[in-house]
Every structure is written in structure tokens, then in C-alpha cells.
């Protein structure tokens, strides 16, 4: 169960449409909010990011996401919340983070999505290693 929020490699657009399609039987939903993180080809000095390699302290990460998810359900009038984060190599242009919230109304879906994204970035032990095109690397720091 420790991989319930984690996916090896990039998140495919097809996974996203499949997730959306699964909610079409839930006719109490009026609004979905989706956040997607995509790996940017950032430049540092003369080096350009080619990929990020993600690792996580999975046992703790899963516990912490469970808690954050419960907080979201307590705070916002949510119908559903789904969270996926990549592990391993994700190339630039590929997706590494997928947060999907649904509610009767747009405000709750939106606010819960923002809450989940921000809290997960802040509180969940995931570590990104930016690998440059020249195969050097540096450890990513969230701003």
C-alpha cells in the first residue's frame, strides 16, 4: 500500500482522462479542479535541466498525504480527491504531479486543490534531483 500515491516514471495524459471519465457516474459533482506539475527545462548558468529524478521517504509520505487528504475533506465540501506523484526519472515536458479534486461547486474544488498542492509540496518528503543535459545534477529546492 505504500505506493498508493506514487507512480514510477511520468504521469501519462491518458491516466488523467481515465480518472476524469471515472467520475462521470457521480452526478452530484458540478466542478473538477486539476493541478498538473510538469518538469521545466530550467537553466542554471549554462546548464539546462533534462529530467528530474524523484525519490521519497515513502512510508512517511503516504502517512502525511493521508493526513493532508483528511484535512482537505474536513475543511472543504469535497466529493473526491485523488493525488499522484512520480518517482524515478521524469523528463522535461512530462508530468510529475497530479492533484484532482471534485465538488458540487467550483469554489470548494478549487480551494481544496490549492490546499492539497501547497501542503503536499511543503509537508511531504519527496526529493527532486535535477539532472542536466551534461549529466551533472543539483538538488531541487521548492520556492
Amino acid at each position: 500500500m505504500s505506493d498508493k500515491y506514487f507512480i514510477q516514471g511520468p504521469i501519462s495524459p491518458v491516466k488523467i482522462s481515465n480518472s476524469i471519465a471515472k467520475h462521470q457516474s457521480k452526478t452530484n459533482i458540478g466542478a473538477h479542479s486539476i493541478f498538473l506539475g510538469q518538469v521545466r527545462a530550467d537553466k542554471t548558468d549554462d546548464r539546462t535541466v533534462a529530467a528530474i529524478e524523484y525519490t521519497a521517504y515513502q512510508e512517511m509520505a503516504v502517512k502525511e498525504i493521508d493526513i493532508i487528504r483528511e484535512e482537505a475533506f474536513e475543511t472543504f465540501d469535497l466529493t473526491c480527491a485523488h493525488i499522484y506523484h512520480s518517482l524515478g526519472i521524469v523528463n522535461t515536458g512530462e508530468l510529475c504531479f497530479f492533484v484532482f479534486t471534485s465538488s458540487a461547486h467550483r469554489q470548494a474544488a478549487r480551494e481544496a486543490n490549492q490546499f492539497l498542492v501547497d501542503q503536499i509540496k511543503e509537508r511531504v518528503p519527496v526529493f527532486g534531483k535535477e539532472i542536466f543535459e551534461d549529466e551533472t545534477h543539483q538538488w531541487k529546492v521548492n520556492r
Binding site: 525519490t55 511543503e122 511531504v124 519527496v126
Partner: protein, 80 residues
């Protein structure tokens, strides 16, 4: 006899050269502060300011370690 599992992540794992080690200590008491100091000096961990330490997957607990505890050295999080 005390057994402590230590896990290292991100840049810290890079500096220690390992993801995990198991300490078997013939001591009566071992507290987190001592463990932290020992590891930092042993592996010459550079960014000591930003390290967070979790005991049994929880950050912010401190004090005396007990046998079987899992201690994790965590650099700044950068998921998302």
C-alpha cells in the same frame, strides 16, 4: 543492545553514500541529538541547518531513542 535503523534521503544520502544503515549499539541510552551529531561529523554532512529528522515517520519528536526506532535524515522537500 539497541538497534536503530537510519535512513538518508536526497543530498544527504549522496553525502553519506548510502540510503540506509542499521546501528547496533551496546549502550544504555542514546538520544536523537547525539545520533544527529555523530552522523553529521562521521559523514561530513554540509547543510546541517536545513536537516529535518523524523523518528518513526514523524518529524519534531525528540529525546531518547528506543531499540527498533527508525530515524530518517531529511533534506528540504522538493516534490511537486
Amino acid at each position: 543492545m539497541m538497534t536503530i535503523t537510519i535512513k538518508y534521503f536526497g543530498v544527504i544520502a549522496e553525502e553519506t553514500g548510502k540510503d540506509e544503515e542499521i546501528l547496533r549499539l551496546d549502550v544504555q541510552e542514546y538520544d536523537l541529538e547525539t545520533l544527529k551529531k555523530d552522523c553529521i561529523s562521521k559523514y561530513k554532512i554540509t547543510d546541517t541547518q536545513s536537516i529535518q529528522i523524523a523518528i518513526n515517520q514523524t518529524i519534531g519528536t525528540s529525546g531518547v531513542l528506543k531499540s527498533g526506532d527508525e530515524v530518517a535524515f531529511l533534506p528540504p522537500f522538493s516534490g511537486g
